[in-house]
């Protein structure tokens, strides 16, 4: 009995103490945001045909469809061209900001609204990649995906540095964003723009209320009980969403795999040959022919694909096997991107796979990126996502990245790190200084540390 009680309490501590997988959630945030951003930019010339008032799936058709299924889309609030352009531009902007991790929680909501608005407006334009993004944009809203590798993390560091110097840190951007967010929500709700399915409106209002609560509680003393409780609840929600994201990825592979097993072409080992010879999925016919030239190769790839997809969820119990399979699946998706002409689908799938990568690898990869950046002389003055003016600053921008390669003991700090960080999402609008960055100079950041 004691053992059970002990493991229960350990489980509770684990699930409540920190927002787990800070690097994993950060990297899927970046991955999905980048996928959607690149897609929107690629389709810029075709945006009207896909989602606009001039497309074949007309406003009227979309209205009938949405009236039937209740899906959420802001695009149907008006059939004007200006509104469409605004929504498209906001979708682009929100994916860029989410990628950078600016006010992550608020922006993740905007990102979700952008994804759902465009995709639900024209349901028959999408494919599997759009479907993945659709789901993940909803799940991401519930995570603290800006704990590392984000402007939020940098802002939090600078705020800490400023506080350490005894300066008062006042965040003006957060409350303003929150008020604008609330005003828009209220307007839209009263105007009947959310009369469809209840899920998305409830989610939007819940996040808005939670952001307000964070701000209010943030004014209390550091160690006050309501503040800790809110932090704990936010961690719990994050960890739950992370489980859902992982389960979703497993369901994707399991479904794809188990249904394939039942197909005669997957059984006789020729299945992979066929998509390579479909006109819609063979941008490089010569390449397709070359890949499909050997019967043995086709058979091995066919069987291998099914085996990997079916096996993947079970390999999560063995770290080493899981990592090997993960690498295999990412390579396969990269190949699919080219051979079947499905780059955005593949990118979305790879972004989903990334959630299973080990922290040590992600941190090392982050280190490579940071070092690569530091070695690009031209970028030192130009590439800052924010307003960094000096080299040290720049380092600060990516600071969370390379921490890992510094010392072996860094691992355990990881969890604590995130717990500490978690109070600093974009969401705790009030207490952190958006303007702290103005003052936080690079050299000071080495002193960051104690929060008074």
């Amino acid at each position: 009995m004691n053992g059970i009680a002990l493991s229960v309490s350990r489980g509770i501590a684990r699930a409540t103490g920190a927002a787990l997988g800070p690097y994993q959630t950060a990297v899927i945030r970046i991955g999905f945001a980048a996928t959607w951003l690149l897609f929107l930019l690629r389709e810029l010339p075709h945006r009207d045909e896909l989602y606009g008032p001039g497309g074949p799936w007309s406003h009227d058709l979309a209205e009938q469809m949405v009236g039937d299924n209740g899906a959420f889309t802001a695009l149907l609030w008006s059939d004007g061209r200006a509104w469409f352009e605004i929504v498209y531009a906001l979708a682009v902007l929100s994916s860029l900001l989410l990628l950078l991790g600016w006010r992550t929680r608020t922006v993740s909501v905007l990102f979700m609204v952008g994804v759902l608005s465009l995709q639900n407006r024209s349901v028959f334009m999408g494919d599997g990649g759009d479907n993945v993004l659709h789901l993940m944009s909803i799940y991401l809203v519930l995570t603290r995906c800006g704990q590392v590798w984000s402007l939020d993390a940098r802002r939090a560091r600078r705020a800490d540095a400023a506080r350490a110097r005894g300066e008062r840190v006042v965040d003006r951007v957060g409350p303003v964003l929150w008020c604008v967010f609330g005003f828009l929500l209220l307007t839209v709700t009263l105007a009947g723009g959310m009369d469809g399915d209840w899920l998305v409106p409830v989610l939007l209002w819940a996040v808005w209320a939670a952001l307000g609560l964070w701000w209010a509680v943030g004014r209390l003393a550091e160690g006050s009980q309501p503040r800790i409780l809110l932090d704990v609840v936010t961690n719990i929600v994050h960890n739950g969403a992370l489980v859902v994201i992982m389960a979703e990825a497993c369901l994707i592979y399991a479904t794809a795999g188990w249904y394939k097993i039942q197909g005669s072409r997957w059984q006789d080992g020729t299945a992979v040959y066929y998509p390579l010879h479909l006109d819609y999925f063979s941008p490089w016919p010569a390449l397709s022919d070359a890949l499909a030239a050997s019967g043995t190769m086709v058979m091995l790839i066919t069987y291998g694909t099914v085996a990997v997809q079916v096996a993947f969820p079970f390999t999560l119990f063995n770290r080493r096997v899981k990592n090997v399979l993960l690498a295999v699946m990412m390579i396969e998706h990269a190949v699919i991107a080219v051979t079947l002409g499905l780059p955005f689908f593949s990118l979305a799938m790879i972004a989903a796979d990334v959630v299973f990568l080990p922290t040590s690898f992600l941190r090392r990869a982050g280190g490579w990126v940071a070092r690569g950046r530091a070695r690009l002389p031209g970028r030192l003055s130009a590439g800052a996502p924010g307003s960094g003016r000096d080299g040290g600053d720049r380092g600060g921008g990516t600071a969370a990245v390379p921490g890992p390669r510094t010392e072996p003991g860094a691992g355990p700090g990881d969890g604590k790190d995130s717990g500490e960080d978690s109070g600093r999402d974009g969401e705790d609008a009030g207490k952190r200084g958006g303007d702290a960055g103005e003052r936080g100079e690079g050299s000071e950041e080495t002193h960051v540390g104690f929060r008074a």
Binding site: G17, M125, K260
Partner: protein, 305 residues
């Protein structure tokens, strides 16, 4: 997540040994970050690029120093019993919600079974519209046919006559746009293909629409036809497209040479009735929808040619 985090600790050493790059700056960085107490001293000593790298590295390390003392002040253990009740309640609620969501989504993607026969409506209620998903890409079997969607039009010419155009192979146009394109647009890869699938799935074998979706898909195809015919300049100078007709040409993909299988290489056609269209695409939709039954009767059984 447990596994990863623990693993990362365990592997940190490995990772360091295995990584590439010049040892100089990195080692400096490592030392800087490695011993918490010394970073302030060593950071200013570094210069140029190394300095930057060093700084990059230190910040999070530096942050960990204070984290430890503040550790006990966060998390479940830091809560008073009264607040712990709240935290446990939240934990239970989230755990239930997570299990329910995963379970319902699982039932949604699973084949029809005992549970979905009984609770299918509850599953649909939750999953639609926002959690809908279909991962049966190329399963159970990959598509083994090339479906080419073609369209032709009856054009009212400037001199008052009627002219019937030849068939435009829209899928072939899509195929040409995809060929050699590393980033095919959804407009060529999905638009027509999925519109046709939508039509087929929302019509019975006699081409009669099934429910709302059936009529939506017809209007959609009409509008795609007008868009594509317009791009092809099908109406010609002064002409107006008055009616359009679709057909699909389905060809089996030739089985791989090593399989020894034989399939017919003769294409099969499915020809839809003529549909009247109104020239003003944006205003004409509703009228179209109402008039389509008449148009369908005119054309009679299109059937497969």
């Amino acid at each position: 997540m447990d596994a990863y985090d623990k693993g990362s600790d365990a592997r940190q050493g490995l990772g360091r040994d295995g990584r590439e790059g010049p040892p100089g700056p990195d080692d400096a960085a490592e030392q800087t970050g490695g011993s918490d107490g010394t970073e302030e001293a060593s950071a200013p000593g570094e210069t140029g690029e190394t300095g930057k790298t060093g700084e990059t590295v230190e910040v999070p390390e530096a942050r960990e120093v204070p984290v430890a003392p503040s550790g006990p002040r966060t998390g479940f253990a830091a809560l008073s019993p009264r607040y712990q009740v709240g935290a446990v309640a939240a934990l239970v609620a989230v755990a239930v919600a997570v299990c329910a969501h995963i379970g319902l989504v699982f039932l949604h993607v699973a084949p029809s079974n005992t549970l979905t026969k009984e609770h299918g409506s509850a599953v649909d209620e939750w999953v639609f519209p926002e959690f809908e998903q279909n991962w049966k890409l190329f399963a159970p079997n990959p598509l083994q046919q090339n479906v080419a969607v073609q369209v032709r039009a009856e054009v009212g010419t400037a001199d008052g006559g009627i002219r019937t155009t030849g068939w435009y192979d829209l899928s072939a146009e899509d195929g040409r746009a995809i060929d050699g394109n590393p980033l095919p647009s959804h407009t060529v890869q999905n638009e027509l293909r999925r519109a046709w699938d939508f039509f087929v799935s929302s019509h019975d074998s006699e081409d009669r629409p099934v429910g709302l979706r059936g009529s939506l898909s017809e209007t959609y195809l009409r509008r795609i036809a007008l868009l594509r015919l317009d791009r092809n300049g099908a109406a010609g100078p002064g002409g107006v497209v008055e009616r359009v007709q679709y057909r699909s040409r389905t060809t089996n993909v030739e089985p791989p040479p090593w399989s020894g299988e034989k399939v017919s290489d003769r294409p099969t056609y499915r020809e839809l009735p003529w549909w009247s269209v109104t020239p003003e695409r944006n205003d004409g939709n509703r009228d179209d929808g109402n008039r389509k039954d008449g148009a369908r009767k005119d054309a009679g059984e299109g059937g497969a040619a």
